[in-house]
């Protein structure tokens, strides 16, 4: 059984449909990546999965449970955690406090929280150095790291990462991808929304979206070899 199964998902804003019957599956332990042009519905998909947008129709099954239309509060507790596009760190809280907010579902369990913090900091040693610095004063890359670390604090079974490389230098992007790979290898399933082709190197599976539906599904490496798709959806050669 797949960890996450999306069937015929449709959603939109106001009366404007964005997702029109999207279906895919993600297996436990893999790193999946969602590709597509602007407006294809990638972000809408992850927002739906995280419960921030209520789907119009379709079904989302997670870990054997039907979680369609659940509130984000329940979904986070269930293990679906989103690292939103644009980082959305809390600018006037320190790094430590940002992480603490991330551990909201475990707020009554101090010992547990401390353990996760230590783990998160292992991935991003730079955060440790700036422990009491306000998040708003961090660089873009550091904020992205903080956002991912904060996502990890809720002990996700699946981590949804939206556009983590946006606005980062190639070097930083590489670092972020490497950490994501490490997180994945430590047992967390990952779904990334990306426009950067570099992500395919760490992806086990890739989905390509267009106009709210899936147009291609395959393994990460496959797409790298698939010049047509690469040019159409990733813009840049790998």
């Amino acid at each position: 059984m797949s960890l996450l199964e999306v069937q015929e998902l449709s959603a939109g804003y106001g009366s404007l449909p964005v997702l029109q019957g999207l279906s895919f599956k993600i297996e436990e332990g893999e790193t999946a990546v969602l590709l597509g042009l602007n407006g294809a519905g990638k972000t809408t998909t992850v927002l739906c999965l995280a419960g921030l947008i209520k789907p119009w129709g379709g079904k989302i099954t997670f870990d054997g449970k039907n979680v369609t239309g659940w509130d984000p509060r329940k979904l986070v507790a269930e293990g679906i955690v989103l690292v939103p596009e644009g980082r959305h760190v809390f600018p006037e809280l320190t790094i430590a406090q940002n992480l603490r907010i991330g551990a909201w579902p475990y707020r009554r369990d101090r010992k547990h929280t401390r353990a996760i913090v230590e783990q998160a900091v292992e991935y991003f040693p730079r955060l440790q150095e700036r422990w009491t610095q306000l998040a708003g004063t961090l660089s873009g890359g550091e904020q992205q790291m903080l956002a991912i670390a904060r996502g990890l604090m809720a002990r996700p079974k699946i981590l949804l990462i939206d556009e983590s490389s946006l606005g980062l230098s190639p070097k930083l992007t590489k670092t972020v991808f490497e950490v994501v790979q490490k997180i994945n290898s430590d047992g967390t399933t990952v779904l990334m929304v990306e426009q950067n082709a570099g992500v395919l190197k760490i992806a086990d599976r890739a989905f390509v979206m267009e106009k709210g539906t899936l147009v291609y599904e395959g393994q990460g490496g496959e797409i790298l070899d698939h010049a047509e798709i690469r040019e159409a959806y990733l813009g840049a050669p790998a």
Partner: protein
């Protein structure tokens, strides 16, 4: 607002310009007849009104000017002034002071009527006082970000009440400063005509202002300061201009206020009055000239209208033993809350099908292209359908860009690009 996504950027209805509806000749004729009828009935009613009601209507016109003044700050620049009683009051005292103390027309010296010349000068001085005080305050307040203008105007209002209005050579303390009218406008009818006329002038100026480059820029600033800045619009200067225009209207309203009762006292301009004025603008419909005028007039006339409803007045006076004015303090805020929560467009929104029809559009309850916020009901309905209702941030931003492009004279900026630029600039900043 924060749930903005890449998808939403593409749904901005830039391309979906609806084909402009043109009524037929018969359609125009019907509209003209209706407008003419409305005008005739209004003029006839107003012209034949009793002196007491003429006085009430003068007050309504003055409130409407105050409403327009506040609307510039609140509706156009998106700031809030809680010290408008200070601007209006200062105008009133300056005008009365000029007539009584400087032009020497004091009632205790037997002067019942001022001359038209001194009267005009008094009004001009009042306007000037509004412009100067608003300008000075604005220069300081607009340098500070956020809603602090509200607090500065608020404190200024308290300075006015506790300090300026206590200068007895300006106000004659609690006894009040007399402000005799000139013979030309001595009767209540004539004075009402003057007030209504000046209201018309204010509406015209307001209309021209909004159509000007400056006005469009100010609107754009309200929608998004970042967008405006990206078009090199001098945000602060334009805001200051708007603020000074607001001060001019307030000063004028103050002068008219003084001559209405021909005596000015400080308690007429209290903090709670200023707050009620803010609410009447909200009820009228922020940013809508006609709505604000109607809303303000409604607030001014409400206590008198209640007295017209016999049973309601009896109930208030005899059963509850309450003054109708006391009820205004309950009804006014209640209407304002209802407006904000349920009908964010205010009165303007409610009457918009009619006004748009009169202006040569189709009669429809749901204007196309004109974006308005979903009401609570709509939100609820949407929620039932499992929708998340979004704010209109993107749409407004797009609109503001259109305005700005006009203002900055930059024809070809692709809106999506600017949006993206703004987005990323905000992110980089944070």
């Amino acid at each position: 607002m924060s749930t903005q996504t890449d998808e939403t950027q593409t749904i901005s209805p830039v391309a979906s310009e609806p084909s402009r509806f043109r009524p037929s000749t018969r359609g125009w004729a019907i509209r003209l007849v209706v407008i003419a009828l409305l005008a005739v009935v209004t003029v006839w009613r107003v012209a034949t009104v009793q002196p007491l009601w003429a006085d009430h209507i003068s007050l309504a016109a003055i409130f409407a000017i105050i409403g327009l003044s506040l609307n510039i700050v609140l509706g156009y620049t998106g700031q809030v002034s809680l010290g408008h009683h200070a601007f209006v009051g200062l105008g009133a005292f300056i005008a009365a002071h000029h007539i009584t103390e400087r032009a020497g027309c004091a009632p205790e010296e037997g002067c019942i009527e001022s001359s038209l010349g001194t009267f005009s000068v008094a009004i001009l001085l009042a306007i000037l006082s509004g412009v100067i005080s608003a300008g000075l305050l604005g220069m300081v307040a607009l340098r500070i970000k956020g809603l602090y203008l509200a607090l500065i105007t608020l404190t200024y209002g308290f300075v006015a009440v506790n300090s300026i209005f206590e200068i007895s050579s300006l106000t004659r303390g609690g006894a009040g400063m007399p402000a005799p009218r000139p013979a030309t406008f001595f009767s209540d009818h004539k004075y009402m005509v003057l007030c209504l006329g000046l209201l018309g002038v204010c509406m015209f100026i307001d209309w021209r202002f909004l159509r000007s480059k400056m006005g469009r820029a100010v609107l754009a600033v309200k929608s998004s300061e970042a967008v405006a800045a990206s078009y090199a619009v001098n945000v602060t200067a334009y805001k200051l201009m708007a603020f000074m225009l607001s001060g001019a209207f307030a000063g004028l309203a103050g002068a008219l206020f003084a001559f209405r009762r021909q005596i000015v006292v400080a308690p007429d301009f209290s903090f709670s009055t200023a707050l009620l004025w803010v609410l009447m603008v909200v009820v009228g419909g922020l940013g809508s000239r006609l709505g604000v005028v109607i809303g303000s007039m409604f607030f001014a006339l409400f206590p008198f209208l209640i007295q017209l409803v016999g049973f309601l007045n009896d109930f208030l006076a005899n059963t509850l033993q309450r003054d109708p004015e006391e009820l205004t303090l309950v009804i006014g805020p209640f209407l304002a809350l209802l407006t904000m929560i349920q009908f964010p467009g205010g009165i303007a929104e409610q009457i918009s099908p009619i006004t748009r029809w009169l202006g040569g559009d189709r009669f429809t309850m749901h204007p196309e292209g004109k974006h308005h916020k979903p009401s609570l009901l709509q939100r609820r309905r949407a929620k039932k359908q499992g929708l998340e209702v979004h704010d209109d941030a993107e749409l407004v931003a797009t609109k503001s860009e259109d305005l700005l492009r006009d203002a900055a004279g930059e024809p070809d900026a692709a809106s999506t690009q600017t949006m993206a630029a703004v987005d990323s600039s905000e992110e980089v900043k944070s």
